[in-house]
Amino acid sequence: MSYSVLAGKAIQRVARMRGGSGSALPGLIIERIDPGFMKRTLDQLPHGVVVISGTNGKTTTTKMVVALLESQGLRVFTNRTGSNFTRGVAAALLADVDRSGKLDADIAVLELDEAHAVHFVRMVPPRYSLFLNVLRDQLDRFGEIDATAKLLQTIAVATTDGVVINQDDPRLASQTFTEAISAPDIRSYGVSEHLHEQFPSDDEMRGRDTKPAPAPHNTFADRTELRAIDGNQATFYFDDTEHTVSLELKGIYNIQNAAAALALVRLIVGSEIQTAAMLNALSDVRPAFGRGETIEIDGHPVELVLVKTPSGFRLSLASFDPADTTVMIAINDNYADGRDMSWLWDVEFESLRAAGVDTVTGIRAYDMALRLQYDLVDVSRVETAIPAAVSDFLARNHSTPKRIFCTYTAMLAIRRELSKRTQVEVVA
């Protein structure tokens, strides 16, 4: 019996009764009363800890990795959405351990915010890690994009057994990034040559051609490649074979992250991998909330697309056909969204010019409207209050398919509104 675990669990129950998500406060308290709790609990796991980090796509990728590992018969512990900070991990562990502090799992898969991951790996060195990308996001928090790459490198260096890197990210696949890694197995994933133009990088956006020197090609022991996308079918290449899978996931960046998940799971499971089971599991994965999920309101689809970075927004605009769909854009500038609005000017909105944008909402609705004005895109309505904007948007466009591009906290507010009309998972 562990007294700190019992105390922590009691606090968690109280916090939940008080209406919170039961995440931050109990995590804080268990860290204070039992600083060794997280390391001690995670050290029990026979397959160790996996860390997934990067600017974009952590949540959906983690969801995929968990499903793929489970398809191989592993019991997986993971941290839930919105708790990708060390304290959130501690709270999630607290909820899942039994009274003696034992975790019923074989492996932990954690999505961690870059800065918090650095703090985490100092306490618990991961066995495996996966790095998705370094994009212009939350630069107001970390300073500069190169500094963010350094944070990720710290995690890679702390990793003991194997690292997977996105070979299409010039900073991650650079010689500088990879040469410091001491884990024996470094692998990569990426998209094939002819898919490249569908995945513009921040650097290519303004014709920047000064990329850091790439890692020598023998750096990577193995590569998982996304070869083709055809509707909801994707073709991946690994183990000298092409594998075609039909996917529930939408959006080309989600499919790129599927290659990341495959590469990581292949690394973890090794030669014992059951490929057919893994691919079956992949085809069943649904998008994480707000990552291209569709909600039915009165029998008509409303698609929620989370946008956080210029490249993510550009990819979203490119991924989803604007024809016959009414568009709303919701932009907040709370801490979790990033305070700086500059990023909107690094996205081109010409693809929305023909149909226009129905509604712009959120705290920074007028920044978005201004951005659209300079791309000559008409806006029918600007309403900073999200509840009013959502009601009006649904009422005026009752029977057309609708799509809402939104920042993180705007998405939470929109989901609250939609949950009044239909069953929607609301995240506190």
Binding site: R136, R206, W343, W345, D346, Y366
Partner: protein
């Protein structure tokens, strides 16, 4: 009405390496507003090794990371006299953040390394451990309230031969100490503000266009532009947390 439309030629300095935090928004704003005011606009990208154009009406430069600054540094030093001549010939320019710093005498890092600038502005910049980040509101006699977002660790100090662009109402500005933000020399403006700067500060954008039109054609007749979105966006930005 003139027979052929009047053309204004904008040169973007180093868009490949010095382009961050929506610097494109500034060029786009100049491009659109000049068109709305009745001009035909040509935008030329100038990157290291390119031939600098002869007929320049407006020069714009953006921010960058340290790595971007070192990539363009040699080229900029060679171009320095040319830019200073254009400035003395009253060509309007707008330099944001990293290019603002390199238009000064030098940037000295906190480790003591010095990167020379072209000295167009009588300013010097010293690296620091703090990062000055957040929404910023400043006040200028010429342009009224200027709103933006700053994100820099260099502290810039003005010499005698340059005027501040504005005084701080909220935020840090040049150095967080003397209440000044940015610098002005003739028609050249340097500033730490992005956000992007010009879309939310149309008075500043129109002033740059006016200077270039007056210099090239001797007159400027503005059109009335619907700036209601900009006015609302400014009002919101002023009220947001740092």
């Amino acid at each position: 009405m003139s027979e052929s439309p009047k053309t204004l030629h904008i040169v973007q300095l180093y868009p490949r390496d010095m382009n961050i935090y929506g610097d494109w928004g500034n060029t786009l704003t100049l491009l659109r507003r000049a068109e709305w005011h009745g001009y035909t606009v040509r935008v030329t990208d100038y990157n290291p090794g390119d031939t600098f154009p002869d007929d320049v009406d407006l020069v714009i430069g953006g921010g960058g990371q340290d790595s971007g600054q070192s990539k363009i540094h040699d080229d900029l030093m060679q171009l320095g006299d040319r830019l200073k001549n254009l400035a003395d010939d009253d060509v309007p320019m707008l330099m944001i953040c990293g290019m603002y710093q390199l238009f000064g005498h030098f940037f000295k890092t906190k480790d003591g390394d010095t990167m020379n600038g072209i000295g167009l502005f009588d300013i010097e910049t010293h690296g620091s451990d703090q990062r000055l980040i957040g929404n910023i509101v400043t006040q200028s006699d010429t342009f009224g309230t200027i709103v933006g977002y700053e994100n820099h660790s260099g502290l810039t100090y003005l010499g005698k031969h340059v005027q501040p662009l504005a005084t701080i109402q909220r935020g840090a500005g040049n150095n967080g100490q003397d209440n000044t933000e940015g610098a002005v020399y003739r028609n050249v403006i340097g500033t730490y503000l992005h956000g992007s700067l010009l879309p939310k500060n149309p008075a500043l954008a129109d002033w740059l266009i006016e200077q270039s039109a007056m210099r090239r054609y001797g007159d400027f007749t503005p059109t009335v532009i619907d700036d209601r979105f900009a006015e609302h966006a400014r009002a919101v930005a002023i009220k947001r947390p740092r």
